[in-house]
Symmetry: C2
Subunit: 211 residues, 2 copies
């Protein structure tokens, strides 16, 4: 029904009572269906207000909200994965970027200095914007999902361990490489950037917490 009506994030759904009538089932049954959609962030409930379409409708990859962080591994595992995956994505971006991508990239690079609301506005997250410049939406969604893994830790890292000015400088150099259409430089700079962050965390955490 969301698809057929072409609903976008922010749009309101009909009330559960009305949906129950429309689909000829009772409200508890409708609720079960809506809860499933809620689990993948396709819709969100706002008590007393209504149910609204959310960002999940056009997000194919997502993090499992039901896997606790205690069950998963260290944050270093995540950075190791990013170090493998993101450099080639940066290279692809350097090869395919449009002018629009460049302006978006510059915008998100500037955002690295300011307090992060990158969680509600993923397009402002530099590494997401970088993946977006590859022109491949699925690539962008993959990086976006990856950045949601251990989200709490990543916010903590941004606030405490990373050197914001150095981050910004790194980002600017990556933007340059992408602007110049230099895939190798973009890949190398991205790798070094992530390696530096990994190093900062590894030494701060100490080897005993590195797992």
């Amino acid at each position: 029904m969301i698809e057929a009506a072409g609903l976008e994030p922010g749009d309101a759904l009909a009330s559960s009572r009305e949906l129950a009538k429309r689909f000829e089932v009772t409200t508890p049954t409708i609720r079960e269906a809506l809860r499933r959609l809620e689990a993948t962030d396709v819709i969100r409930f706002r008590h007393g207000s209504g149910t609204y379409v959310s960002g999940g409708v056009n997000r194919r990859l997502l993090v499992n909200p039901h896997v606790s962080e205690s069950r998963s591994e260290s944050v270093l595992e995540l950075l190791d994965a990013r170090i493998v995956l993101e450099p080639p994505v940066a290279a692809a971006a350097a090869a395919a970027r449009t002018d629009d991508d460049l302006t978006a990239l510059t915008l998100s690079a500037d955002n690295s200095l300011k307090p992060q609301y990158a969680d509600e506005r993923p397009e402002l997250h530099f590494h997401v914007a970088l993946a977006g410049a590859s022109g491949n939406l699925l690539l962008r969604e993959t990086i976006e999902a990856l950045l949601q893994v251990r989200a709490r830790d990543q916010i903590e890292i941004r606030h405490r361990y990373t050197d914001r000015d150095r981050d910004h400088a790194d980002h600017l150099r990556i933007v340059e490489a992408v602007r110049d259409g230099d895939p190798d430089a973009a890949a190398t700079l991205t790798r070094e950037h992530l390696l530096a962050i990994r190093e900062a965390i590894a030494t701060t955490l100490g080897p005993e917490q590195a797992r």
Copy 2:
């Protein structure tokens, strides 16, 4: 509760009536909670039998089951993404593989010839096993999730467009490179392998369906 009890895939949960009693809510409410877990494949219902823990408990990345394929882009987009991401994963595997990884890899390579039940047994999918050999679980999960995107199309492709013998030969050569600990060769062979598949699909589909 699943965590605390250390339940693994296949284990049964208590009945919804019992859960309702234990959490002091009614069955419809319990059902809503269970439906959310169902949406991310943490549990599965079997009518008349019970509800069971499923593979999702230890899967951090997953495909959104509520995004229709019509809303998403072409299958070529997916292959383009894989061509960017998988070669460096193969390189990481060549650098880090253990002997156990090698046997698992050989096993899954042989599986490329037989009819695919790779959907229920992801560890038998060659590209998943390859990512697993990197030693980074998150990397493996990322590739695993990516291979679930447009799953129907991918099965179709395996059955109709790919040359099974050539696939097998490609896989064996990648295994060799991984065995020899040659990251560059592993990356190059993986890239060529995926490019060949992409080419086969692109020409078969014809440019008009390529989007």
